[in-house]
């Protein structure tokens, strides 16, 4: 009888945990952080950005849903388990206008696996389904994005 009760309690606990984890993906949504440092030193940090990957293009939505930064990448290859791509075109969709931002260079690392992996030559780790993006524009603006992919489509 005691064993039956113990099993029931374990099942109940598992059910409770399952119920809570079912809500976790929602909690993990749009947790990206984008940092923009312009050439005059001004820094803006945007929280709760949503990150969508469609093919080799990243769509980064501002937390207020008023701006979208489109980052097109190519040359995607793998450095051990992480995918590394090179951004070559950036477009800002905002306030009803679409403007290109001329890029100088950039790199994006994507962890499309379910495990944590180290960035190459770095002690920094990349969580499952997470990315880090670094951009430098022709006008000397540095952009970095950290976060979890909210959507992935081919």
């Amino acid at each position: 009888m005691r064993r039956v009760r113990f099993t029931a309690v374990v099942c109940a606990t598992l059910a409770a945990l399952t119920a809570s984890f079912a809500l976790l993906p929602v909690a993990a949504r749009a947790d990206g952080v984008m940092r923009v440092q312009q050439s005059d030193g001004a820094v803006h940090v945007y929280h709760d950005v949503k990150i969508r990957l469609a093919g080799n293009t990243l769509w980064i939505h501002s937390g207020d849903r008023k701006g979208v930064l489109e980052v097109a990448s190519g040359a995607c290859s793998f450095v051990r388990d992480l995918q590394r791509c090179l951004p070559y075109a950036t477009t800002l969709h905002q306030h009803g206008a679409t403007r290109s931002i001329v890029l100088r260079e950039g790199t994006v690392y994507l962890n499309l696996t379910g495990d944590v992996h180290h960035l190459p030559h770095s002690s920094q780790q990349l969580a499952p389904h997470a990315l880090v993006l670094f951009l430098r524009t022709m006008h000397g603006t540095y952009v970095s994005v950290n976060g979890t992919l909210d959507e992935v489509s081919s």
Binding site: C11, A12, L17, S20, G41, A42, V43, A54, C76, R99
Partner: protein, 225 residues
Amino acid sequence: MNRIAHLAFSLSVAVALPVAALAQQHGAPPSRSEPPSRPAPAVRPAPAPVVRSAPSGANGGFNFNHDLGAHGGTPVHGSQPPGAGTTTARLPSQRRYTGPVVRNGHAPGNPWGWNHGVPWSPAPAYWGGGFWGPWAFAGLPTAVYFGAVPEAQIVYPSYQVESDSPGAELLQDYGLQQTPCGPPDLVVIWGPDNSVICAYPNNNVGPGNYSVDPETFSLVSAPPP
């Protein structure tokens, strides 16, 4: 048994409620308790305050006023709306020889197997499309110059291959060591977008011109003259 069911329900609610609250906090629309026109929070650098013109993102969204300039940057015509799909890279201009293939014994047999089955396409704005490393054309002065190959009155510059690049993996597969282009009797490898690198010949690859077949990750030699 009723007590157990009651306990399970209580536990579910106790655990799920804070998480749901957290989810609402993160996933809430921007209008949550703050005016929608509020700009993103700014982190000011410690040095002297920066005098800033009104940011273009003052009505929300992102602030790229320096890059967009007084005229609001370069308008893009015919662009897809956000979320419509993917941006396609331009077609690569790649030299493709039709001579004998020097098989890559280390590459998996399946197409794009060397790249986890993912097709590789060049990234415009990078030398060699990024095959030899993340060397953007705008940043090439910082790349290590590795000689050049003159051909038909055009001089093709070469740069040092980055250690984590696909090109470095290709050289490693063939046991080749890169060397500056220029001297005769080298292995001359033409990569994507008319990029070129040179290596010392070895037992696997003799001197001469080769192109890269990115799908099979192998070298294709130039047909004999």
